[in-house]
């Protein structure tokens, strides 16, 4: 019986997260990884991993189905879930930015149309600035929206900026940084205190090792 269930966001940060977890003693064999199973145990049998969509990680952890999760800060900001965030993992670093077509100014507009995958985050950002904004929620290819005239600007996650550039967009403003976080369920944090503390400590050591390598 595994001590902890860890939900890992599939996609962008999965490989880095698994590498860090392996360094921290939670090793998933490559044979297990190459299978298509979405739930598997690590080699020690102490951890069970589940692989889910990034936005579902907070859901599994908040309900306590997973005790812990590894997910980007962008997802946490958007989901407004009630989770503990005891550790930042310096992986999957990127920026959350406002971007628009190169050369356009958003200043003169009385009302902004904003296309984004992050409606809450975008609304909060422009709300704090006191700018009226119509939020247009999209689920992908957000960079197209200003190009085709659906929106004046976008709020999106940017890693290198290459996609923006290729679509004729430029960064106007950085809203925040996003890196992966270890999140923990509130009840698990108390009821499985020892196992959670062990994992946090091991990840801290692993994180330090990686930053020394860099």
């Amino acid at each position: 019986m595994p001590e902890l269930t860890i939900a890992v966001a599939k996609g962008r940060l999965q490989a880095d997260a698994l590498a860090l977890l392996a360094r921290a003693g939670a090793v998933v064999s490559s044979a297990a990884l190459s299978s298509r199973r979405l739930a598997l145990e690590d080699e020690s049998g102490r951890y069970r991993f589940i692989f889910v969509k990034p936005s579902d990680v907070p859901v599994y952890v908040e309900h306590g189905i997973a005790d812990c999760g590894v997910v980007g800060r962008d997802v946490l900001l958007e989901s407004e879930t009630d989770l503990l965030q005891p550790l930042t993992l310096d992986i999957a670093r990127c920026r959350i930015v406002v971007a628009a077509r190169t050369g356009t100014s958003l200043r003169g507009l009385g009302m902004l149309r904003v296309a984004t995958k992050y409606p809450r985050l975008a609304a909060a950002h422009f709300g704090a600035q006191g700018r009226p904004a119509e939020i247009i929620e999209l689920s992908g290819s957000v960079e197209l929206a200003p190009v085709l005239g659906l929106a004046d600007c976008i709020v999106d996650l940017v890693e290198t900026g290459a996609t923006l550039l290729e679509n004729g967009l430029e960064e106007i403003e950085v809203i925040g940084e996003s890196t992966a976080r270890l999140v923990v369920n509130r009840a698990s944090y108390q009821l499985k205190a020892a196992a959670v503390a062990t994992l946090i400590a091991a990840l801290e050591v692993a994180k330090a090792q990686v930053s020394n390598l860099d």
Binding site: G64, T81, D82, P86, L87, T88, A187, Q190, A193
Partner: protein, 374 residues
């Protein structure tokens, strides 16, 4: 309207069969235990003035209530908590009564906006007690031990944790840093989610590097007695130290009673600081990811209703508890809770039939009338 009749509003649900029975049993267990500690049952109005809950819970919490207007235009609310009305009753209806006052209840509360994604219910039943008019260590312990007895009686033995904190610890630190209300709230949130990295960044303008690292540890201080010693190494203001002493006083007794396995100290639990004035605690049980109860000391509350006196209490969420117990009962498959086999009753004219039925009922037997073949 084209709305199908089958649909019910979000966050509402039916209870029936074994689950409804289990709810009643859990509620009965709780009320028996409250009674065993000499708590008197109170039923507060289901509908009350909204302003009561603003005074009792604070505006942010009260806003989650279902609201509507009375005939005279005053705003009403479906009771979003019981403590507000209990505190008002203590200050008004029971003003002349001898102290301390011990009140308990098991009542549904309604919240238009659920607490979180995992706590999706908009109607839930709170089982709770309030001890009003005493601010001693013994009063705090009485309430904690009632909570522990309740969880033990429901056979959560070993599978529950009651986490203790004292708001004085955070308040002392916030005062020492002279934070304005907005920054204070930001710091509270960072500690609440145990985000040590961002807390250090947040503290950078106001503190030296050593102080910063020390305060950031606040997020990670949880455990048994050693937590208090660790906290004393990083905190030096008088208010926080006095709070740590109070916690230690409670912990001494918990330990002597042999209950330290079920209790934890958790200095990172800093929710609802505007409401509580001393001890705070949260209750977790194995099998569910959300807390099933919370409580603490709220000495300022009854002053809002014109009689300033200390108070301490807690609530447990009946629905969350029965969710866990129900899932466990299904696993057990032992029919501990099932009904006795009904006695079949047939033939005879109605009078003869019912004479027999009434006899059996008088003996306390369970009957089931076959209405088809009679």
């Amino acid at each position: 309207m084209s709305e199908p009749l089958s649909r019910i509003p979000g966050g509402m649900r039916y209870y029936f069969g074994p689950e409804a029975q289990l709810r009643r049993q859990v509620e009965a267990t709780a009320m028996t235990i409250f009674d065993g500690w000499s708590y008197e049952e109170i039923t507060t109005p289901t509908v009350d003035y909204y302003s009561l809950f603003e005074l009792g819970m604070g505006q942010a919490e009260a806003q989650r209530a279902f609201r509507f207007t009375d005939l005279d235009g005053r705003m009403l609310a479906l009771r979003p908590d019981v403590t507000s009305a209990a505190a008002r009753a203590a200050a008004t209806l029971f003003a002349e009564r001898e102290r301390p006052l011990r009140l308990c209840y098991a009542l549904p509360v309604f919240r238009q906006q659920p607490q979180s994604h995992a706590e999706w219910r908009r109607e839930s039943t709170q089982m709770g007690c309030e001890l009003i008019g005493a601010n001693t260590k013994v009063a705090d312990l009485e309430v904690l031990l009632i909570a522990a007895e309740l969880l033990r009686s429901l056979e959560f033995d070993g599978g529950y944790a009651i986490t203790l904190n004292d708001v004085g610890i955070f308040n002392g630190v916030a005062e020492r840093l002279a934070l304005d209300p907005l920054r204070r709230e930001e710091m509270r949130q960072l500690i609440d989610v145990r985000n040590a990295a961002d807390l250090e960044l947040f503290l950078t303008p106001d503190t030296s590097p050593e102080e910063r690292q020390a305060f950031a540890q606040l997020t990670q201080l949880s455990g048994k007695r050693e937590t208090l010693a660790a906290a004393r190494r990083v905190i030096s203001n008088d208010q926080s130290l006095a709070a740590l002493d109070r916690l230690e006083g409670l912990w001494d007794v918990v330990e002597l009673l042999g209950l330290s396995d079920s209790f934890e100290i958790d200095l990172g639990d800093v929710s609802r600081l505007d409401y509580y004035t001393g001890l705070t605690f949260k209750i977790y049980v194995n099998g569910i990811g959300v807390r099933v109860g919370s409580g603490g000391r709220y000495d300022g509350l009854t002053a809002n209703f014109g009689k300033d006196e200390p108070a301490v209490g807690f609530v447990l969420d009946l629905d969350e508890l029965t969710d866990v117990l129900g899932a466990r009962a299904m696993k057990d498959t032992v029919a501990r809770q099932t009904l006795a086999t009904p006695s079949g009753i047939t033939d005879g004219d109605p009078a003869t039939l019912f004479r027999g039925v009434l006899d059996r009922r008088a003996k306390g037997e369970r009957v089931l009338l076959d209405l088809i073949s009679i």
